[in-house]
């Protein structure tokens, strides 16, 4: 099977000189559930954002469905983004809008500029958004304002918005980092089962190794912007985990 995504010699240097990613190479095949682990500041978020070009890579290629997407124009970037759903640590819902309206934002890329701006979505899109909400157990909340929900519910709306795009690939950036353990489990279960049922490929950033081991079909370990592990969870030994997280722990309080 052809890979859905290829990342080749990817490098990102921010304008302040920080090297966030260096020489990243990997391929993603359809149906994989990849978890990227690594300490804070390792470059996980930058990596995901280089894939949908929320961050412009400095050099290297990102190939999505056989097409180099790092050199295409703004219009085509939007078309590629429609097929890539994204889930965020802070949910990033529009608080004052209704839950179903937030889900419908996933359809903006497929809706005309004016209709989309005015929030005039097609009946079909609305019906589908409601179906998605039912799937994540939020039918009763669909007309509530997004800021009335709990953190776990908000993240389910975040997932629903990504699903409304009918994506081929989902990028999840620390989707459970702001949630309590019970909600975290619900969210991870939702992401995992939905991706499996709908045959969506997923790349999920996490910093909890145990959660990564539980769900991932493959784990990529990143440290200081470089891949230092890429393989099945069963091959991730304690030594490698220590290696990934070594020297990463900064003391919370500097003893003087």
């Amino acid at each position: 099977m052809n890979p859905i995504l290829q990342v080749e010699n990817l490098k990102k240097v921010y304008s302040d000189g920080t090297v966030a990613l260096n020489n990243i190479n990997f391929e993603v095949h359809p149906g994989e559930f990849i978890v990227v682990i690594g300490p804070s500041g390792a470059g996980k978020s930058t990596l995901l954002r280089c894939i949908n070009r929320l961050v412009e890579p400095t050099s290297g290629d990102v190939v999505f469905k056989g097409k180099k997407i790092n050199k295409i124009g703004a219009r085509q970037v939007k078309q590629v983004r429609r097929e890539i759903g994204m889930v965020f640590q802070n949910f990033n819902l529009i608080d004052r809008l209704s839950v179903v309206n937030n889900v419908l934002h996933g359809r903006l890329g497929y809706t005309g500029t004016i209709k989309g701006a005015l929030g005039l979505f097609s009946k079909k899109d609305i019906a589908e958004a409601e179906e998605i909400l039912e799937r994540v157990g939020l039918s009763k909340q669909k007309y509530k304002r997004a800021d009335e929900l709990s953190g776990g519910q908000m993240q389910r709306v975040g997932i629903s918005r990504a699903l409304a795009q009918r994506p081929r690939l989902i990028l999840a950036d620390e989707p459970i980092a702001s949630l309590d353990p019970a909600s975290s489990k619900i969210i991870m279960d939702h992401i995992f089962t939905i991706c499996k049922e709908d045959k969506i490929t997923a790349i999920v950033n996490l910093h909890q190794v145990d959660v990564a081991m539980k769900y991932a079909t493959r784990i990529i370990g990143i440290k200081s912007g470089e891949v230092i592990f890429d393989g099945q969870p069963s091959h991730l030994t304690k030594n490698i985990i220590d290696e990934i997280y070594s020297n990463a722990k900064q003391p919370l309080v500097n003893a003087q």
Partner: protein, 261 residues
């Protein structure tokens, strides 16, 4: 231990210096303005004479004609706010770093509105009276100019404070620039838009009284006319009406704010 004492000493010195500086400045400006307490107290008699004999009691019979003037003031303040807010809405999207199509546009709009804001409404009115003559048009126009200057600034600052993560999320869905403005930026901006517009209405009503005095029409013009004709009882009635108008707008706008936000 030594360091703490050293710090305390330095702090004391700073306070002492500041004290002398402020005292010196006060004395200097008092001399410069020929300020004397004797004069202030000697004025009391005249003030109370003026207030109790000339101004009071307000001439209630005049309220009929004054009511028309006060409605004009309200009208100027309201139109100034509505038109000002609509123009400022467009300009602020160009002036905020988060939404501007180009940094050069941002600088130009900011500079342009800064000029409008920093010329007081009073000066605008004086300039406009020369071309439009005395009347409500002048008052309304100068209030619009002031409102555009003020609201563009505060709207742009509000736009710059919105959560960029949420905007990033809409970018990630493949939305276009206008879709993101309408569906992502505007809902976050809306409470600030309403609150600042209502505050602007209060400012306008206060300002329109002053602007009226230099020829902008409304109750300010009526007050000015009354003073010139020594109709002080009519003037005091007008002042009472202004107070009622200002207090009731403040009350109403705060109620509306509560409802909407």
């Amino acid at each position: 231990m030594n360091m703490i004492q050293e710090l305390k000493k330095r702090k004391r010195l700073q306070i002492l210096l500041l004290f002398f500086f402020v005292t010196g400045l006060t004395i200097w400006s008092a001399i410069g303005t020929n300020f004397s307490f004797y004069e202030v107290f000697s004025g009391f008699g005249l003030i109370s004479n003026f207030v109790f004999l000339d101004l009071l009691p307000p001439d209630i019979a005049a309220s009929g004609t004054l009511l028309e003037a006060i409605l004009e003031t309200l009208y100027m303040g309201f139109v100034g706010m509505v038109v000002g807010a609509l123009i400022a809405l467009v300009l602020s999207f160009l002036a905020a770093s988060t939404t501007t199509p180009h940094p050069v546009v941002q600088v130009i709009v900011r500079a342009f509105t800064s000029i409008m804001r920093n010329i007081p409404g009073l000066i605008w009115a004086l300039i406009l009276v020369a071309s439009y003559g005395i009347g409500v048009t002048v008052g309304t126009l100068s209030l619009i100019l002031g409102s555009v200057g003020f609201l563009t600034r505060v709207f742009a600052d509000t736009l710059e404070e919105i959560d960029t993560g949420k905007i990033e999320a809409l970018h990630a869905t493949g939305s276009s620039y206008f879709q993101i403005l309408a569906q992502g930026v505007f809902p976050q901006f809306f409470p600030g838009f309403i609150a600042w517009s209502l505050y602007n209405l209060e400012l306008n009503i206060r300002a329109s009284t002053i602007i009226g005095m230099v020829g902008g029409g409304g109750i300010g013009f009526a007050i000015q006319k009354g003073i010139k004709l020594f109709q002080y009882k009519e003037v005091s009635m007008a002042i009472v009406l202004v107070l009622i108008l200002i207090l009731s707008t403040e009350f109403l706008t705060s109620k509306i704010r509560e409802r909407i936000i």
